[in-house]
């Protein structure tokens, strides 16, 4: 496993009130994303454990783009990756944001 960590400044904080959300599954070409609301509103951390080694630059681009485009402030995001493509990663991250912003029942 290769471990990567990012700590980014986020312009917008995540909406909603849920404490956490999880999406995806760890399988070949897939990943799970756990989102926890545990940082200051302008901070987003992303920790990645990936089965595919040597893709640090791709991850760097994907997570920076995600934090720039989505409301990710305040979130501690943890990823277990089974070798997903960048578009799948971006999709799961967006799903994760939607899920943590869902109204609580």
């Amino acid at each position: 496993m290769e471990k990567l960590s990012f700590r980014l400044t986020a312009a917008r904080s995540a909406g909603g009130t849920r404490a956490q959300a999880i999406v995806g599954v760890v399988a070949s070409g897939n990943l799970e994303v756990l989102l926890e609301r545990s940082h200051p509103a302008d901070t987003c951390t992303i920790d990645i454990a990936t089965a595919a080694h040597g893709f640090g630059a791709v991850w760097d681009a994907v997570v920076r783009d995600f934090v720039a485009r989505r409301s990710a402030g305040g979130l501690r995001i943890s990823i277990n990756d089974g070798g997903a493509r960048p578009d799948t990663v971006a999709l799961r991250l967006a799903q994760g944001i939607r899920k943590i912003e869902e109204p609580e029942r």
Partner: protein
């Protein structure tokens, strides 16, 4: 009491994730998870093999309500490591069943498993044994343990033995139930014994329709989350003993199956002996027609 509602959207049980299945099965908004992913109780053994971990180790457990009644629920994720039982995965289910006995609450197990996880085979095998014992102890305390089988990974290996300890089993056509998987039989005994690439053979030997016809499962449902929910609600109303009378009835039932079908070479022969008019048509029948054709099936009422 507030109105009980299901999550009403159509959802393929086979395609759904473990978490989606639970959400669709129990009353909307009623599920609370135990040892959730935020606790990061991952397998301590996968790192030895440099394999990726999952925060819930491939099984989601917790409590919820089913048509208003409190239930404990476990759902395996068949896409992570084939839904296989390792140390953590198994211990979560063992703990849930021990809680069920103490709290006298019914349990729903959503099987989706290839069996024991080879990378932690000894721990997985022992987990299966511990779970089976915990199921029987819970049942003897009056608890219903219902198994639901219709996931991608089927219900194989040790998972199929756990299923055999449940008080009722609900299965869809997609739900395969078998000890040795097709590849395992072919690898060990040759392609003449079992051609694992012959998908029609796999389905008619191990699939939900055959299991329902011979009494290996109690309820046959469409591959729909709501159908599983309705069947689970009904299953909880059935008997819940596990005493010598039930096991004696099971003994008679299983002896009868061997006598009646023991010489059959293929599932179609068994279906013919059950008096089904056009046995070769069974795999293609939609649920309604299949259930009509299955009127004279073997059943396991009070004998499981």
């Amino acid at each position: 009491m507030t109105a009980v509602t299901a999550n009403a959207n159509s959802l393929s049980w086979y395609e759904a994730s473990a978490r989606q299945r639970i959400d669709a099965l129990v009353d909307a908004g009623s599920f609370a998870e135990f040892i959730g992913p935020e606790l990061r109780e991952i397998s301590p053994h996968l790192a030895i093999f440099d394999l990726p971990e999952q925060f819930d180790d491939g099984i989601v457990i917790g409590r919820g309500r089913l048509d208003g009644a409190p239930v404990l629920v476990a759902a395996q994720e068949g896409r992570f490591m084939g839904g296989a039982f390792g140390e953590v995965h198994g211990a979560k289910l063992t703990g849930l069943l021990r809680a069920a006995r103490a709290l006298e609450q019914d349990v729903l197990i959503l099987f989706d498993t290839g069996g024991v996880r080879l990378q932690e085979a000894n721990a997985g095998e022992l987990a299966i044994a511990e779970i089976m014992r915990a199921v029987i102890e819970a049942r003897r305390a009056g608890v219903n343990v219902i198994g639901l089988i219709g996931g991608r990974a089927g219900c194989y290996g040790g998972g199929s033995l756990i299923a055999g300890t449940c008080s009722r089993l609900i299965v869809s056509e997609q739900g395969r139930l078998s000890v040795s998987g097709p590849e395992v039989i072919e690898t060990n005994k040759g392609i003449e014994e079992f051609d694992s690439r012959d998908r029609a053979l796999v389905w008619r030997t191990m699939g939900g329709k055959h299991r329902y016809l011979i009494g290996g499962a109690d309820t046959f449902v469409d591959d729909e989350a709501l159908a599983f929910r309705e069947a689970a609600i009904n299953a909880l109303k059935a008997g819940r003993r596990c005493d010598v009378t039930v096991l004696e009835a099971e003994q008679t039932r299983l002896e009868r199956r061997l006598q009646r079908f023991g010489a059959a070479e293929d599932a179609v022969e068994i279906w013919e002996r059950l008096g089904i008019d056009q046995p070769t048509e069974i795999p293609g029948l939609p649920t309604g027609a299949f259930l009509r054709a299955a009127a004279n099936r073997e059943n396991a009422d009070d004998a499981r």
